[in-house]
Amino acid sequence: MVVRTLPQYPIKKGEPAYKIWIFEPGWKGELPLITNPRQLAEQKRPALLPGHRLCAGCAAPIIVKLASLAFRGPTIVVSATGCIEVATTIFPYTSWAIPWIHNAFENSAATASGIESAIKALKKTGRLPYDHVDVVVFAGDGGTYDIGIQALSGAAERGHDFLYILYDNEAYMNTGIQRSGGTPKFAWTTTSPVGSVIPGKMEHKKPIADIMVAHRIPYVATTTPAHWIDLMKKVRKGIEVNGPAFIHALSPCDRGWRHAENLAIEISRRAVDTCYFPLWEWTPEKGYMLTDRSLSIARNPKLKQPIEKFLELQGRFRHLLKPENRHLLKELQEYVDAMWEDLLNRATNAPK
């Protein structure tokens, strides 16, 4: 475990790919945003190191690694209590190559507010040895939709300069698959079981990204780990804007969604292809803008897949594909269609 040398960025030939990130005091400049896979492999390393204990097939570390490849320089990460937190920092080990803090479940945005304020105060008094230190939060759906929404809303209103990345696995996976405000309608969870009377969760997912748009913060976006260039570009934009930014990343969970370990990326892709989870970004200047695959679907509606394509790979929706539940499936399809239509109407770059 002991690393005796502190490597400089970028990786030198022959150096191990995984080491902690060291920004010596006085470091200046900006790490480039690279989206060419070969260059990425040669020049960049993620801030999340191997050896963490997230489940095989989990999408969350993919999101974290992709996001960290888009960081622009010295960065402090805040994690809410949740899968990423418990699985990456089991004492005495840590998988984080950069400064990291976990405070509690509901307060990651408030913690980030404090860090950002400290950075400002240090800078004002000449005690910050960098031009800027970015603050990035990784929080799950429980810590964002439910218990953490007050702190997030408050921090957004106050305008702290930080990027909040929601990795949304659509239930309390860390405590064992309980329903959250992010769980979609009809999904099975351990607290919204599929019974003989009630077919899973009876409420729709809260439109969290739209709620953040309503805060009129400088940047809001949705993304998935399957659309990795989209994800990296959005993370970089979120870091670069002056003020709060929010990114909603879908994060398939093989344990909770009941899918095979090798399907996280495929399911993410299908979530977008079926318009269950459209890709977009929002800025106060341009409004809603579709991106990546969702923009293609808007331009060529034939690409849009039926919702079964998203559901069929997941055990949590198994009951919806039974003949007696055809009406539920129809209801879900109509909901997805209506939401998509609504987004098309709002998106400034959708063909009218």
């Binding site: 405070n103 404090g114 860090i115 105060a121 408050g154």
Partner: protein, 413 residues
């Protein structure tokens, strides 16, 4: 440091909240995150004015709840800032979860608790149940008697919290309204003296970690990355709690040193910093008390002394860590102790009574103890009530036994 003569100390006519705000203003605090709650609000109002007028470099974060206030302080302190917040009663209760985290992460945050009764029924006036509620959170708890002490103690709190032998957060308790809204003439030190007393901006302690060669600052630092607040299970958690327990042991010594040093600079001290005693040496009856009521008790006790009655007072300035040995040594030769608590653990006794009881247990010869619960919800502890209490205790002492160990002072029958 050299003594600052009284004429060089600025005279201010302020209430307790304003005194705290002035202390924070002079303490080079980097981040103040706070939420309004009566009777604490004046602290953040005054401090906001200092910020608005550019008199401080502090980032003032007007958070959306007390929970976020303490959360932001944790983030700020972990990032290397000197952080302060203030609250009362229900606000403190809402902070409760993060109080433990602040202490366990060993972050030297200072919190002014303007003591107020907890709901329900909702009440805005003073009692100490809010402070007693955070008793086990791992914070140092200091209780002040007057507005001058509120100013002095707030500055001292930063020194105590940041001392490398301690590295624990400090709560400075001042009684709601009795102190927070009561004007007193106080003396404040020049800014530069306070800065020197605190050693300038916050200094970051260094630690050794196994994956880095040199000692690294214990802070969120892109030059030497550390992980704060990891998952810590049965294989290490207990050892980490032992560190907190050990750090608490160092606190009385540091509080005494800081109290003495402050005396040398300002000419003011509060007992030995831990306990303040009056007429205890030969006393048959000793009253123990926290907070502003101590002023009234001292006044009444002086009257009893003039009448030749052997009565004394101990003011408990530091409630956590509790000075068990020290207080036992003071109390052990008296006949009866009247333990005054402006709070109660329902189904048990007042919280300081429990401490004093356990302090004296090991002594073969020990005084009788009576717990007086008083002043809940801000009810006045008038000199007449204190007199009544002392007369009861004097007759207990004469009789040689106590009948009712838990008594309620100033409540309707």
């Amino acid at each position: 440091m050299a003594k600052v003569p009284l004429e060089k100390q600025t005279l201010l006519n302020v209430n307790g909240d304003e005194a705290v705000a002035w202390a924070v203003k002079q303490s080079l605090v980097d981040v103040v995150a706070a939420y309004p709650i009566t009777p604490q609000t004046i602290i953040v109002e005054r401090f906001s004015e200092f910020v608005a007028n550019g008199e401080v470099h502090t980032e003032f974060v007007a958070v959306e709840s007390e929970h976020s206030a303490m959360s932001a302080c944790v983030g700020a302190a972990a990032a290397g800032a000197r952080a302060f917040t203030a609250t009362a009663a229900n606000g403190l209760a809402l902070m409760w979860e993060i109080l433990y985290i602040a202490a366990s992460l060993r972050l030297p945050i200072v919190l002014a608790v303007v003591n107020r009764a907890l709901s329900a029924p909702i009440n805005i006036h003073c009692d100490h149940n809010d402070a007693y509620g955070m008793r086990d959170a791992g914070w140092i708890q200091l209780f002040v008697e007057n507005v001058q002490e509120a100013y002095d103690t707030t500055i001292q709190a930063f020194r105590i919290a940041e001392d490398e032998r301690v590295l624990l957060p400090v709560a400075v308790n001042l009684d709601g309204f009795f102190l927070s809204h009561t004007l007193e003439n106080i003396r404040i030190l020049p800014d530069e003296v306070v800065h020197e007393f605190l050693g300038g901006y916050r200094k970051i302690p260094k630690v050794k970690v196994d994956y880095l060669e040199d000692e690294v600052p214990l802070v969120l630092n892109p030059a030497r990355p550390l992980s704060f607040g990891p998952l810590d299970l049965y294989d290490y958690y207990f050892e980490h709690k032992m560190h907190q327990i050990e750090a608490m042991k160092n606190v009385p010594e540091v509080v005494r040193e800081v109290n003495q040093e402050w005396y040398e600079i300002s000419g003011r001290k509060y007992g030995d910093g831990v306990l303040e005693t009056l007429y205890v040496e030969d006393a048959d009856v000793i009253i123990t008390v926290l907070g502003s009521t101590a002023g009234t008790v001292k006044h009444v006790v002086r009257k009893f002394r003039r009448d030749g009655k052997k009565v004394g007072v101990v003011r408990i300035r530091m409630f956590r860590p509790f000075p068990h040995r020290e207080i036992a040594e003071v109390l052990k030769n008296a006949k009866v102790i009247g333990v005054m608590d402006r709070g109660i653990s329902f189904g048990s006794y007042g919280q300081s009574y429990l401490e004093i009881n356990s302090s004296l247990y090991d002594y073969k010869e020990k005084p009788m103890l009576v717990n007086y619960v008083y002043g809940l919800g801000g009810r006045d502890a008038s000199p007449e009530l204190i007199e009544k209490m002392i007369n009861e205790l004097l007759s207990d002492a004469e009789r040689g036994y106590v009948e009712n160990k838990l008594r309620f002072l100033g409540v309707r029958e």
